[in-house]
């Protein structure tokens, strides 16, 4: 059985990759994918922590995250469609009119 620390390190790495992807990609689809990676990194951290304490709570939380991710993706894809419809582009920087 891999120790909980390895799971947490992997989760941190995944999260960092996701964050890096979020920050460097301009394509809104890739951004959504990066967010998925980060969500799953958080889920992995829950499971690793639940494993460490011998509790089922971590897996329960992961189920919640899964449900939430599904909802998020459906809303996110709807927004992406709308964005594309309006700007004829999937570049997220195109939609920057809302600023101070």
């Amino acid at each position: 059985m891999a120790p909980a620390r390895d799971g947490l390190v992997l989760a941190a790495l995944l999260f960092s990759f996701g964050l890096a992807g979020l920050l460097v990609r301009r394509n809104v689809l890739f951004i959504l994918m990066s967010i998925e990676v980060m969500l799953n990194a958080a889920g992995l951290a829950f499971i690793a922590a639940g494993e460490h304490w011998g509790q089922p709570d971590g897996q329960v939380a992961f189920l919640f995250i899964l449900a939430m991710a599904a909802a998020e993706v459906s809303v996110g894809l709807a927004l992406v469609l709308h964005l594309y419809h309006r700007y004829k582009s999937v570049d997220v920087d195109a939609a920057s009119r809302m600023k101070g």
Partner: protein, 621 residues
């Protein structure tokens, strides 16, 4: 005597009624109320005077406690009235003269805009003045004092559509404010050291606790003198009174000649113990009075506006009262107040008739020959002028002014210099008033008469003319009556100037003045012009005409520097501190709004960086 409170309350009720509801009343009703309440008040004070004389209250004074006004620690001034010989005499004269002037105004102000406003203000003035006179403590007195100042302001600026009148009103208000500030500080000093503002207690405590000439007594007396000087238009605060003539003539007669301006005289007489304890200040009172009476006399000689001549004459006559107070002739000052109230009110009312008759002409050089056209005004002016100059034996002014001149020489506090100066003042007085009479009533008719006075204007003038003649006959009785409230004059030992000698000199000065006025203005009019054409004479003429350049001096010393200062700090220095704060906020706002660029990834980076920083803080600090 229990009805004493009605004497101020009646005019006050009249003022409230007229100011609230007067604008919707008919003029006749307004006049009925306006004159009625003051007449009732005068009748009541006459009745009280009769009772007071028939059965004097114990101790020569009656005190009516109405209610406790303020109750803060030791400070418990009551709303209470104090009636003694001094306040009774003043109250009777004020209400009586006020009644006559109100009656006169019924016709004088007829058809004017703001008829009810005028009577409302006048009633409020009478109420305040009587409160001032009857107050038993200095705070209530100050209340009345400010009340009359307010009415003076309102009435000078009565014709408010002309900005010049508003300016004159403000000038009067601001200049008297200088004196009132000194007065207020004086009240603080008195309360701080003696713990009360009740006038009689104050005088008793002062006598017990303070030695003659002690510093605090001198300070308190000097501060009260400051207030008196402002209100009574004495040097150096006299400049407001000539400009106060912008108000309607009955106002000038009542407020700026007969009653309000003598409030300073009353204050000093009321607080005479304090001034006795501060001989330096009392001497200053005499000096101020003497200098003022001479300066104003010279100024009156050169004026061309009929009301300004009378205004300077008022300043000069109050100078006589101050001189009397300064040499300890308290009774003489109040006696002169009474006769002055009669004849100066008379002169102003007669001047009002002349002005009305000539289409509001004020310049005496455009009047003339009115002797036949306006006999009432002429005889009134003659009676008033003779009383003012002090024509021997037949006018009231002679008795009162002679008494002052004699006291100036014969008092232990007086001296030969005061005596000579006040005699010279008699010469000036007769010179300027007869100059006025000769120019206005004799010679050629220069402006035709358009309107003659009706009975409401004629009756007060006739009554006042009679009083100006007979008002001083019972000199001994009046002074004896006042003796209950005021100490007698302390005379020099025998060998000083005799009263008959004084009278002879005064009569001589008077006749010389009349003769000079007749010679210069009737016989040889070229003489006056030659004097004005001469470089020295012209300079003197300009100096006197401008009231010795006092306005010019104040303009340079006070008004201009203040204006310059306000201009210099028009960008408020303190504001710069707040300007920095707003600049800082604006800068921060600009700096932060740069970060809000609408770019989603930038925000995400911000959130990530913030999280890292806070987690780092939580972990390592």
């Amino acid at each position: 005597m229990q009805l004493l409170w009605l004497v101020p309350a009646l005019p006050f009720a009249g003022a409230v009624t007229l100011l609230l509801f007067g604008s919707s009343m008919r003029h006749k009703t307004v006049a009925m109320i306006g004159v009625g309440v003051v007449a009732a008040s005068a009748a009541l004070s006459l009745a009280i005077a009769a009772i007071f004389l028939a059965a004097p209250p114990p101790g020569g004074a009656y005190e009516q406690y109405l209610w406790l006004w303020i109750d803060v620690g030791r400070f418990r001034p009551a709303f209470a009235l104090y009636l003694d010989a001094l306040s009774l005499a003043m109250t009777v004269v004020v209400t009586f003269v006020a009644t006559l002037i109100h009656l006169y105004s019924v016709e004088f102000m007829a058809g004017e805009e703001g008829y009810s406003r005028f009577f409302g203000y006048m009633n409020l003035f009478v109420a305040s003045m009587v409160t001032l006179l009857l107050a038993n403590n200095l705070l209530l007195l100050f209340d009345g004092w400010e009340g009359v100042g307010l009415c003076s302001y309102l009435l000078i600026g009565f014709w408010y559509k002309d900005p010049a009148n508003g300016t004159a009103a403000q000038k009067a208000f601001i200049v008297t404010r200088v004196g009132d500030t000194a007065f207020t500080v004086g009240l603080f000093v008195l309360f701080e050291h003696l713990g009360t503002l009740h006038i009689q207690d104050l005088m008793r405590f002062a006598q017990e606790q303070w030695t003659v000439g002690s510093g605090v007594a001198v300070a308190a007396a000097a501060l009260l003198l400051g207030g008196a000087v402002g209100k009574s238009a004495q040097l150096p605060l006299q400049t407001w009174l000539p400009d106060a003539m912008a108000g309607p003539t009955p106002t000038s007669a009542l407020i700026h000649a007969a009653t309000m301006v003598t409030a300073g005289v009353y204050l000093i007489a009321r607080m005479h113990v304090l001034f006795t304890l501060a001989p330096q200040v009392q001497f200053a009172v005499a000096v101020i009075g003497t200098v003022t009476l001479l300066m104003a006399g010279f100024s009156a000689l050169t004026q061309t506006d009929i009301k300004r001549v009378l205004a300077y004459s008022t300043i000069s006559q109050i100078g006589y009262m101050f001189l009397a107070l300064g040499v300890g002739a308290w009774g003489a000052a109040i006696f002169h107040f009474m006769t002055h109230a009669f004849f100066k009110a008379l002169l102003f009312l007669a001047a009002g008739i002349v002005i009305e008759a000539l289409h509001h002409e004020h310049n005496i050089f455009r009047m003339g020959g009115l002797y036949r056209e306006l006999p009432i005004a002429f005889w009134a002016f003659l009676a008033g002028g003779c009383a003012l100059a002090g024509l021997p034996f037949i006018t009231a002014g002679f008795f009162s002014k002679d008494l002052i001149v004699w006291s100036a020489g014969a008092s232990t506090l007086g001296g030969r210099a005061f005596w000579v100066a006040s005699l010279f003042g008699v010469l000036l007085t007769s010179l300027y008033i007869f100059r006025l009479i000769f120019l206005v009533f004799f010679g050629d008719v220069r402006t035709p008469v358009s309107r003659r006075p009706g009975w409401a204007m004629a009756v007060p003038v006739v009554v006042l003319a009679v009083l100006s003649i007979i008002g001083g006959y019972d000199e001994k009785w009046f002074l004896g009556f006042l003796g209950h409230a005021l100490p007698p004059l302390s005379q020099l030992p025998a060998g000083a100037i005799a009263e008959t000698v004084t009278s002879a000199f005064a009569a001589g000065a008077l006749l010389l003045g009349i003769f000079a006025a007749w010679y210069v203005y009737m016989r040889k009019p070229a003489l006056a012009e030659a004097f004005a054409a001469n470089p020295v004479g012209g300079a003197l003429h300009r100096l006197w005409f401008s009231d010795w350049g006092m306005d010019w001096l104040y303009d340079r010393v006070f008004v201009r520097p203040v204006e310059w200062l306000t201009y210099a700090v028009r960008n408020d220095i303190i504001d710069t501190v707040f300007d920095w704060i707003t600049a800082l906020a604006a800068f921060t706002s600009r700096a932060l709004s740069v970060t809000e660029n609408g770019k989603l990834r930038w925000y995400a980076a911000g959130i990530a960086a913030g999280t890292v920083i806070f987690v780092a803080i939580a972990l390592f600090i």
